[in-house]
Amino acid sequence: MQNLLSDAVLLARIQFAFTISFHILFPAFTIGLAAFIATLEVMHTRTGRPHYDRLARMWTKVFAVSFAMGVVSGIVLSYQFGTNWSGFSLIVGNVVAPLIGYEVLTAFFLEATFLGILLFGRDRVPRWLHTTSAILVAVGTSLSAFWILAANSWMHTPTGHEVRDGIVYPVSWFQIIFNPSFPYRLVHMLNAAYLTTSLVVLAVGARYLLANRHIEEGRTMMRMGVGMIAILAPLQLVIGDLHGLNTAKHQPAKVAAMEAHWDGSKPAPLVLFAWPDREAETNHFEISIPKAASLIITHDPDGLFPGLKDFPRDERPPVAPVFFSFRLMVGCGMVMIATGLLGAWLWWRKRLFTTTWFLKFVAPQWPLGFIAVLAGWMVTEIGRQPWIAHGILRTADAISPVSASSLVVSLSAFIVVYTLVFGVGILYVRRLLVKGPPTKPAHAEALPNRPLSAAQDALRGGAAEGARS
């Protein structure tokens, strides 16, 4: 029985990790993309230059496909709190559920409804209203991030509540929403989302220039991408550092796992590589810079911060996944900073569009933001273990009374369906981007007897072009 139960916990965790990892890819992309499209629409209105409009049309089609995948994978999550984590739903529901409720009311309806106008209303509403719809969709995606990150941050750094008879009750909604880690997490994630989109935009622009097609669009995307990354990537380093300090204060065990720091009585080296061993409570094959981690975490080379051994064994997070994910995220961030600074320098030297090695360097970078986002979430979520709500409820005590066999069925179904459906969806997005912006005049798309959706027109052309080449 004990065996079965522990299996059920593991299966439920794998299912949640799998479904939420797939889901986060889409918001991480669409939060920035909505803002990008709104910017393009505003630029078109202000300058009247048609290539802004062509870009807006292409990216709106990409947005439509990506957003649909985000919506359907998001509904799964909103119900999974109940189907798989009924202990969590009941014990912290008084605090967490209203935050999700506010997400639905302030964000989901806004983005879902105005998306209809953004996708299908181009010729039905005045230009300004179409642009406003794009802006409202962008506002909706950010509001959604606000509430979901408030709920998530509360699980990491819970405040403003009290526990009676094992159930959490709200005391101060302000403290619950603006809990200690929330401002850092919100800014870190929104910045990550904008970086993710900027990298995709930059990579697509570089590919167009390398292929010597859609030159004007490619240059605009290069400029906008480099401009964003040159500012946001270094900024992300600063935000990340501040977020890390906040974590060190409120979740020291997580920071110890991130740094694979076992002995808190000595200043910590910055471990560049190691194989952390949870049983032996030490690192193998360690390569490290003495005292550097203490400098980063405490801003003092001789500063001390708790090591993993300072925590009871059953309150330590898994070390290796947190340690490696953190390095992967930081590594991606370093590449982004290099891209931003190099790009800015080339732009200043007026060689941004002609430096082939730079174009080839950024062309494969489109997945970088996604990888960093996933790695970052692995760090923070695995680093919170064994807690689901830090200090209040353990993950193992939060699951539903659902049999392991049901979980096997549902988990297998999720894996098959997600791989199939979202795999195909990502291929469709790729086809839209390979096809590129519309080349014919805008009104040609509106011929009668041609049923249209947001994505159809470009792809028909894309398929034809694929057949030609």
Partner: protein, 346 residues
């Protein structure tokens, strides 16, 4: 956990706020059933409209709204969790497999709205995903309602039953009923919003579908009290029999109204008749179960969240729901009027 179910002295706030939330939950549910009902319905009818251009038109007739319509389902689930966390934490695990089936089916249905166009001319597989997803989603919703109606085993404030407790002939029949109901309102939607051959075919389908729906409503109305004694008691005890008699009488009247409107070829009336029929069926469901949220053990006051949580969310709902309804109405207005074959939104 037992303390959760103990009855504490109730003040006016503790009594009235759960009632308001129950009403809001009912509103979200019925809005979802009507709004996503016709979206799912047109997809269920896809196989009966073999031509590509017919299917294009059908999909275009709901494309600008489907996402907003589906959001009512998210609000319904969210409201259940916010206002009645105990009920949420019991119902969801109890109906685990049908809920998962519903979520997976909605994935196929939802992405088909975009993928179908993206895949053209190789879009047949997404036609299939659109129809299959919608049929399974509708069926699973019916099974969930049936499973809830027939009762959930609760032990110490948690779901205490087995994996397949929900699977009975009754819940399966409820699943079929919802598929038929959505197909009917889908046909009525097409009569209202399209012209030409699609509208004409929808009108020919509407009559048998409406008759089938009436048959299903009658069967469920007989089966439910026969299978579930507490519901028989609710409807047939004196004076309830008299007080509740308007429900079946009105249902019969609406059934005739719908059939008449279809026969006369009215454009809008069949849709509204179907909506009223849905409302009456839902009213019957609510009457059968008041005050239980998890029949037959947990009522809305036992399941209620802390008053602070309910009030905090209620403030937001009272402020935001009218705004949501306003801009939802605005989008329906922007895309008003009939679609002709070959016409789309661009």
């Amino acid at each position: 956990m037992n303390s959760l179910l103990a009855s504490a002295p109730m003040g006016p706030l503790e009594f009235s706020v759960p009632v308001i939330w129950a009403l809001l939950l009912a509103t979200a549910t019925i809005l979802y059933v009507v709004l996503d009902g016709f979206d799912l319905g047109i997809a269920i009818l896809f196989p009966l409209f073999p031509e590509e251009h017919q299917r294009d038109l059908m999909m275009n007739s709901v494309a600008p709204y489907w996402d907003g319509n589906e959001t009512w389902l998210v609000l319904g689930g969210g409201a259940l969790w916010v206002a009645f966390p105990l009920a949420y934490s019991i119902i969801m695990p109890a109906l685990y497999l049908p809920m998962i089936a519903l979520l997976l089916a909605l994935i196929f249905r939802g992405v088909a709205f975009e993928f179908r166009w993206a895949a053209k001319p190789h879009h047949r597989k997404w036609d299939l995903a659109f129809t299959g997803g919608s049929i399974v989603a509708a069926f699973a919703q019916g099974v969930v309602v049936g499973g809830l109606l027939q009762g959930i085993t609760v032990t110490n404030g948690r779901f205490g039953g087995g994996t397949l407790d929900w699977l009975t002939p009754f819940s399966v029949f409820c699943g079929l009923s919802i598929v038929i109901g959505y197909a009917t309102i889908g046909a009525a939607w097409l009569m209202m919003r399209t012209e030409g051959e699609v509208a004409e075919r929808a009108r020919r389908l509407a009559r048998p579908l409406f008759l089938l729906l009436i048959a299903v409503v009658v069967i469920i109305s007989v089966w439910t009290p026969l299978a579930i004694p507490r519901i028989a008691e609710r409807w047939f005890a004196w004076p309830n029999l008299l007080l509740l008699s308007p429900v079946p009488v009105l249902t019969a009247a609406v059934a005739f109204w719908g059939l008449w409107a279809i026969a006369k070829g009215r454009h809008n009336q069949p849709f509204f008749a179907a909506v009223v029929l849905f409302l009456l069926a839902f009213a019957g469901l609510v009457i059968s179960n008041i005050p239980y949220l998890v029949p037959p053990t947990i009522d809305i006051w036992q399941a209620a969240a802390s008053p602070s949580s309910q009030v905090f969310m209620l403030i937001g709902t009272v402020l935001l729901l009218p705004i949501i309804l306003m801009y939802t109405g605005f989008v329906y207005w922007v895309f008003r009027g009939k679609l002709r074959t070959g016409e789309g939104y661009h």
